[in-house]
């Protein structure tokens, strides 16, 4: 997409899927009901996300019924949060946590981890990010916020609409 021999590197990072999610993020906006709300920042660059999770009882234990968020940040952090919410909404909490683990392993794999498309779906597009150390935190911002929120929700699952700050 760019002139010279540099476009390939960039394209490895900015997969079409990432740019699509960046331009049209899924599940954006803060919604009710929710059991936990967290605010995470990337202190080095200032990217921020406020994220809520709604967990409801399902047939086989708790299910991630909703993930809603308000985020300011770069294409990688925005797209990653979008992909994550789409991936995790509707999944049992236990399965969602396993997906989280898989994504974390991919990001920390220094580009040597082969992503499992069956588990990560659109998330495989972020495989290239692992080769750009400065951007891994961007890709993980929303995921870390979700993990924090879901564990908070888990410890206070009897409350609803807690509206924690």
């Amino acid at each position: 997409m760019t002139a010279g021999g540099t476009g390939q590197d960039l394209d490895a990072l900015y997969q079409e899927i990432i740019l699509d999610h960046y331009k049209n993020p899924l599940h954006a906006g803060l919604r009710e009901p929710y059991e936990a709300e967290v605010h995470h920042v990337n202190p080095t660059c200032g990217d921020e996300v406020t994220l809520r999770v709604h967990v409801a009882p399902g047939e086989d234990g708790d299910v991630v019924s909703d993930v809603s968020y308000d985020a300011v940040g770069c294409s990688i952090s925005q797209a990653s949060t979008s992909v994550m919410s789409d991936l995790l909404i509707g999944k049992p909490v236990a399965e969602a946590l396993a997906v989280h683990e898989e994504f974390l392993a991919l990001m920390q794999g220094k580009g040597a981890v082969e992503p499992d498309e069956d588990v990560l779906e659109d998330g495989v597009a972020f495989a290239g990010v692992a080769k750009f150390p400065a951007r891994i935190k961007c890709a993980l911002l929303g995921w870390m916020a979700w993990k924090d929120a879901v564990s908070t929700a888990g410890t206070s699952s009897t409350q609803t609409n807690g509206g924690t700050a």
Binding site: M1, T2, A3, G4, G5, T6, G7, D9, L10, L13, Y14, L19, T44, C45, G46, D47, E48, V72, G73, C74, S75, I76, S77, Q78, F132, R135, C138
Partner: protein
């Protein structure tokens, strides 16, 4: 182009890193000098020479190498004093960096003494400070029950001094501000502010981390009522190494402040019941100091002085003006801070409509152009302008007009890549 350093191509050869190519055989276009500057060969050589031939501890080794090392270390202090036009070399204290120098002041002012800050007192900073000139004063005022106040900014990125008489009052104990903003490039009227602060008996601290690399400083030539009481800088932005900073303080201030860190060499006599302390500057230099870093800083400041800080400043002005003109040709660019033709430093922070600063920096990096993206440790100033982060390009004495052209072209490429062109 007028104002450029004479023989710029020769000057560039002093900086070996500028020869290197990046992945994909791209030449380096280094526009992140407000973050850290590159180092000339003479600095690298001075440090290597010291380690290879003169290494020993300073002031406590009774042998030839110890004498050589002490002499080199103290010679670096002389060079710093000369570079700043310090009234006395004993007023030059070596620290780890500018942050430590500011923390030294903010900590020792919490303790008993003439300058102790307490309940009811006020400390004044500005909204454009680097975090290192905000957080130490927040800690000081929180610990002592004092109040932190600050100058706001005008829409064009200057200090709003319209309320100076309401802000700096009989309650003000310290006024601490940056000379040149690391985000906006703004050059602050430190003489006017020092004069007002001194009228009420406040201590004036100037953060010269960005000023020292790019403008001549002559403390002794300043009228005493306009001269700060303390000024800090960091070595790595003045073509020196990391790990070394400077606190210059007036003798009166440094003598009145209690010691900061306790330890070796900052003492006169130690008894188990209590100790007496060394005179200036050693009172504030506990433990083995960063010796080879000081030697490197000395070489760096001699290098800058040999080029001439007036010439360095003129180069910076010319390149910055050229960069601002280049930026004005790129659709969607919004520069924060003073614009074309105004007095400003070399850091230019900007937004590019439709492309996040991280993504701008990524595209630029893919073309060999190194800039910084984020809040540049000046989050309050970003919040003031309603932005979460910006891209910052910062030139220095080795920057060429052709590098600015490459930077502007790379911005166009970023617009194309993210589909915001036309």
């Amino acid at each position: 182009m007028d104002g450029l350093l004479p023989q710029l191509d020769v000057v560039r050869k002093d900086f070996p890193i500028l020869e290197r190519t990046l992945a994909g055989n791209r030449p380096l276009v280094y526009l992140d000098s407000a973050n850290t500057s590159q180092k000339p060969q003479c600095v690298i050589d001075a440090m290597v020479d010291h380690l290879e031939h003169h290494n020993a501890n300073v002031a406590r080794a009774m042998h030839q190498l110890g004498a050589e090392s002490s002499e080199a270390f103290e010679a670096a202090r002389d060079t710093v004093a000369e570079f700043l036009g310090a009234p006395s070399r004993d007023e030059v204290v070596f620290t780890k960096n500018a942050s430590e120098a500011l923390n030294l002041l903010a900590n020792t002012m919490a303790w008993a003494g003439e300058h102790q800050v307490g309940e009811g007192d006020e400390v004044v900073v500005t909204e454009m400070e680097h975090h290192s000139n905000i957080v130490p004063w927040q800690l000081l005022t929180q610990r002592t029950g004092a109040t932190l106040r600050w100058f706001g900014l005008t829409d064009d990125g200057r200090l709003d001094t319209s309320d100076i008489d309401a802000l700096i009052t009989e309650r003000t104990k310290v006024v601490s501000l940056t000379w040149v903003s690391n985000m906006l490039g703004t050059v602050n009227p430190i003489a006017d502010i020092a004069r007002r602060a001194h009228e009420v008996g406040a201590v004036v601290v100037v953060d010269a981390a960005q000023a020292a690399p790019q403008m001549p400083i002559d403390l002794a030539a300043m009228p005493v009522e306009e001269r700060p009481d303390a000024l800090v800088l960091t070595g790595h932005k003045t073509v020196g190494p990391t790990g070394i900073g400077v606190l210059w303080g007036s003798r009166a201030l440094l003598e009145a402040l209690p010691p900061f860190l306790g330890g070796g060499e900052m003492i006169e006599t130690v008894r188990m019941e209590g100790s007496t302390y060394a005179g200036l500057p050693h009172k504030f230099e506990a433990g083995t100091p960063p010796i080879v870093e000081a030697v490197g800083l000395g070489a760096a400041l001699r290098y800058l002085s040999d080029l001439g800080m007036d010439a360095v400043a003129a180069h910076e002005r010319a390149i910055t003006a050229y960069a601002l003109e280049g930026l004005s040709t790129v659709p969607g660019v919004r520069v924060m801070g003073p614009g074309v033709g105004e007095e400003r430093g070399g850091a230019i922070s900007f937004e590019l409509a439709g492309v996040h600063p991280h993504d701008v920096a990524q595209v630029l990096d893919s073309r060999g152009v190194a800039v910084r993206a984020g809040h540049h440790c000046a989050r309050p100033a970003h919040a003031r302008f309603g932005v979460q982060s910006t891209t910052r390009m910062s030139s220095y004495l080795y920057t060429t007009p052709a590098e600015i052209d490459a930077f502007v072209e790379a911005l166009e490429a970023a617009r194309t890549y993210f589909g915001v062109s036309a």
